[in-house]
């Protein structure tokens, strides 16, 4: 299981605020219902979209295949080894 707490909490909290907190504060008017629907649907779909992407990469079954040339450059630019 490779889930890190921080991104999950941050993203979920953000969409939670958009979808479950903000609708209560929509000003009364003829468009209240529509605005609430818009907020809730945006939050749900965007959060689900992000979640699927996160889950997919959490436990990868395969890794990236790259040419040695690319790997050399990557090693140079991004550093090597997660071991300190």
């Amino acid at each position: 299981m490779g889930a890190s707490a921080v991104p999950i909490i941050v993203v979920t909290a953000f969409w939670f605020v958009v979808g479950a907190i903000l609708p209560w504060f929509v000003p009364k008017g003829p468009n209240r219902g529509v605005t609430q629907t818009v907020l809730v649907m945006t939050a749900c779909s965007c959060w689900l979209f992000w979640l699927c992407c996160y889950l997919m990469q959490m436990n990868p079954l395969i890794g990236p295949e790259m040419s040695n040339h690319t790997l050399l450059v990557m090693k140079q630019e991004w550093g090597s080894s997660w071991k300190d």
Partner: protein, 825 residues
């Protein structure tokens, strides 16, 4: 909630006093909330009550159009203040008519006068030219005359009769240059060469008074002897339409005439100038008001058309109208009717009565400029049945979202957002321009849709990590190369396997979106394909499930609560147990199987293919023997659970097929029993009334067939529609590949040139790349993704709950009429 379902409408009867009718209808037209029904459908247009008034309005429009034509001919700009004048009262109509009549007559008179003046001017100018040119002729003639005389004297004196001097007659005139050669030939032939023609061209072009063209003419003078030749010459001149002018013989007279002609030309010029000025002034004054007048006349005409729909009651004192109005607006309409009655000075207040009717009212959705675009998308497929759930309020988000899944590039999304933002911010000035191009009109009408599509595409672009086909590394990749240089050069081949031993992968994923390393990987496409196919199915099942759930509100609203049990429950069970379970399997596979797992059963080699698992589930095929080290199942109890789910899903289909018809039959039997036992009661049972309603089927067989079709559609549809959502994957793949090709083949080649000339080449290559990006990737792909999203909504989503058998509410509204008319003209 306003947009959730269409408004409640009621049929109303309106009693208007004849005097007040006009003013009340005018007020209703400004309000735009009432749809009038035609109460005289069999009456032809010529027999209606207000046909004379309509004819007068047509006359006024004709006069206004004539005015407009004259104004445009003089290139006077027409002022369009965009103001909206009120419909004038009937007595003002007479004033307007008189004003237009006066203007038209004035213009016609001015035009006639200026035509006559121009003709006069032309004649005088031609005369002036003649007088000038003929002077030379006469001089020559005078000389040669002397010689001739000498010759005659010397030679032949047969011509001389009684010692008289030889006298030559002449005519002078002007003819079109093109006709001159033929004219000469004709003269020569007809007069047997006994006439003498001299001609000279007029250099300046003259204006033809009738057509206004500039033509070139020539002056000619013909000398002849005798009366017979004179008549012949005159006839030929007539035939060739040459204008003849009297030309005095003596030079002194000619000079006098020339002076007289010059003065007359001067005078005429002044008069002509003044006439033109007058005409110009009249037209400029008219141009200020002409738009106003057009609007007023159109309003009057539309009011009388509407009045023609009304019925005149027996006493001939009041008009009866029937109209559909939204129930919430009854107060507003009452107020405007009262206003209209006051304005017309009538004492009798109008009466607005609600009528009970079985007819299906029109569908009215109150939209603002933002929601109108989405409502149009839904209405284009089919107008919602009266008071059923309106998909438009959900389409506001689901449409741009599904579009963004297919368009998923932050760079292209940014371009789309900027363009839409420009259209939205500059709304008012752009709308005022009234650009006629149809493509622009459609584009502008969809500006809010485009804005949302662009914004969601930017989000999707960050999730897919695709900005103009390049990935961005915001948070630092989750992968690092954990190999020494020696290993890289000699031993490494292929994949950075992400298990814990190798330590290429830091064991937690990239926090937002796809890891940037995948943009550099050679196996990017298979990896992303697996991802995109899965999310397409997940979102597809969610979208369709949402559609089925929306059906609950329709069932409850129309009082068909039993339908929830026999339609909704089987449908949702079928969808969730089969395709919802498919999604759950995907989530299990994502969380459970892992390259670095310690348990070999959870390593990638043992990860089952979801598709094979699903097929096995449906076919009841379960492997008893697993591969080495692997397990048969993804979780304990899988076989039992899957068998139970399949059997339940299959069992639910007959409920869907027979549930409603059986209920129908039970109701019919109950009604028959009731009717038999209580035949005195006139009111009858509500169920019988339902049977007699307009669209309820009468027969059991109708219901059975209808439900059979619905069941087959739903069952087959859930399979085919679920697969149809894979287009979300397909278009996203196509888009990313197209943009990658554009990068590789165009922009990258430009960036590879070195030195200063590389900069010049890059300048042109960038232009090509930008043009191709906008035209192919943004426009073409955008249109394509738009179309596919539309199809997904219309077919896959709406078929789960939408009937779409209503008709649109078209109120009598001046705004609508004003919008339509300019396009027609």
């Amino acid at each position: 909630m306003p947009l959730f379902r269409s408004e409640e409408m009621t049929l109303c009867q309106l009693f208007l006093q004849s005097e007040a009718a006009y003013a009340c209808v005018a007020e209703l037209g400004e309000l735009g909330l009432a749809q009038f029904r035609d109460l005289n459908p069999d009456v032809s247009a010529f027999q209606r009550k207000f046909v004379n008034e309509v004819r007068r309005c047509d006359e006024m429009e004709r006069k206004l159009r004539y005015l407009e034509k004259e104004i445009k001919r003089d290139d006077i700009p027409i002022l369009d203040t965009g103001e909206n004048p009120e419909a004038p009262q009937p007595r003002e109509m007479i004033d307007l008519e008189a004003a237009f009549e006066k203007l038209e007559n004035e213009l016609r008179e001015v035009n006639q006068n200026s035509e006559a003046l121009k003709k006069n001017f032309l004649e005088l100018t031609e005369l002036k030219h003649i007088l000038r040119k003929t002077q030379t002729f006469f001089d020559e003639m005078a000389e040669s005359g002397h010689e001739d005389e000498h010759a005659n004297l010397l030679g032949d004196d047969g011509l001389r009769a009684g010692g008289q001097v030889l006298k030559l007659g002449f005519v002078a005139g002007v003819i079109l240059r093109e006709r001159l050669p033929a004219f000469e030939r004709m003269l020569w032939r007809a007069c047997r060469g006994n006439v003498f023609l001299r001609q000279a061209e007029i250099d300046a072009a003259l204006e033809d008074p009738v057509t206004g063209d500039q033509v070139y003419k020539s002056v000619f003078i013909i000398f002849f002897q005798g009366d017979q030749l004179k008549t012949r010459v005159k006839k030929i001149c007539e035939g060739f339409r040459a204008t003849l002018y009297p030309c005095p013989e003596t030079p002194a007279e000619r000079r006098e005439m020339a002076i007289g002609v010059m003065t007359r030309i001067e005078d005429l010029n002044t008069v002509l100038g003044q006439t033109q000025d007058h005409r110009h002034r009249v037209l400029v004054a008219a141009a200020k008001n002409i738009k106003n007048w057009f609007v007023k006349v159109r309003k009057i005409k539309s009011i009388y058309h509407t009045l023609n729909l009304f019925n005149l009651d027996v006493t001939q004192k009041c008009l009866i109208a029937e109209c559909w109005i939204p129930v919430t607006d009854m107060e507003t309409i009452q107020m405007s009717l009262r206003r209209g009655t006051e304005r017309s000075g009538s004492s009798v207040p109008p009466i607005l009565n609600r009528m009970m009717t079985r007819e299906v009212p029109p569908t009215y959705n109150r939209t603002n400029k933002f929601t109108a675009g989405f409502q149009n998308l839904v209405d284009a497929y089919g107008v919602a049945t009266y008071r059923e759930v309106n998909p438009a309020s959900f389409t506001i988000i689901s449409f741009p979202f599904l579009f963004s899944m297919m368009f998923g590039d932050a760079g292209h999304g940014l371009l789309m957002t900027l363009f839409a933002l420009w259209m939205v911010v500059k709304e008012k000035p752009l709308a005022a321009k009234k650009i006629q191009s149809e493509i622009w009109v459609i584009c502008f009408a969809g500006r809010y849709i485009m804005l949302l599509m662009g914004l969601f595409s930017i989000y999707a672009g960050f999730i897919y990590n695709d900005v103009f086909s390049k990935g961005v590394n915001i948070f630092g990749s989750a992968y690092k190369v954990n190999l020494t240089d020696h290993e890289l050069q000699h031993h490494h081949s292929g994949m950075l396997v992400p298990n814990e031993a190798n330590n290429h992968y830091r064991q937690t994923p990239y926090p937002f979106g796809v890891d940037p390393i995948w943009m550099l990987a050679e196996n990017k496409i298979p990896y992303l394909n697996a991802y995109k196919m899965k999310i397409s199915i997940i979102f597809g099942v969610v979208h369709m499930g949402f559609g089925v759930i929306l059906g609950i509100w329709n069932h409850r609203f129309f009082g068909r609560n039993m339908n929830i049990l026999v339609e909704f429950v089987p449908q949702i069970i079928f969808l969730v147990f089969l395709f919802g379970y498919l999604c759950i399997l995907m989530f299990i596979k994502w969380t459970k199987y892992y390259a670095g797992a310690e348990d070999q059963a959870l390593t990638p080699g043992c990860a089952p293919s979801i598709l094979i698992t699903f097929i096995g589930m449906v076919l009841f095929k379960y492997d008893t023997v697993a591969l080495d080290g692997c397990e048969n199942y993804m979780y304990p109890g899988q076989e039992t659970l899957q068998k139970v789910m399949i059997i339940t899903a299959v069992l639910v289909v007959p409920i869907l097929l027979f549930g409603k018809p059986i209920l129908f039959k039970m109701e019919m039997n109950k009604a028959k029993n009731h009717a038999v036992s209580e035949d005195v009661e006139v009111a009858g049972v509500p169920q019988t009334e339902n049977h007699e309603g307009g669209d309820e089927p009468h027969e059991f067989s109708d219901v059975m067939i209808h439900q059979a079709i619905h069941t087959i559609e739903y069952v087959l549809g859930s399979v085919s529609h679920t697969a149809s959502y894979l287009r979300l994957w397909a278009l996203s793949l196509a888009h990313s590949q197209l943009s990658e090709v554009l990068w590789l083949m165009v922009l990258r080649k430009g960036l590879m040139f070195q030195d200063w000339y590389g900069g010049v080449i890059l300048y042109f290559i960038f232009a090509a790349w930008a043009a191709l990006t906008v035209s192919i990737l943004v426009l073409m792909e955008g249109l394509s993704a738009f179309l596919h999203t539309l199809r997904l909504h219309w077919v896959e989503f709406q078929s789960k709950f939408y009937a779409g058998a209503g008709y649109l509410f078209v109120p009598f509204s001046f705004e609508n009429i004003m919008e339509v008319q300019p396009g027609e003209e």
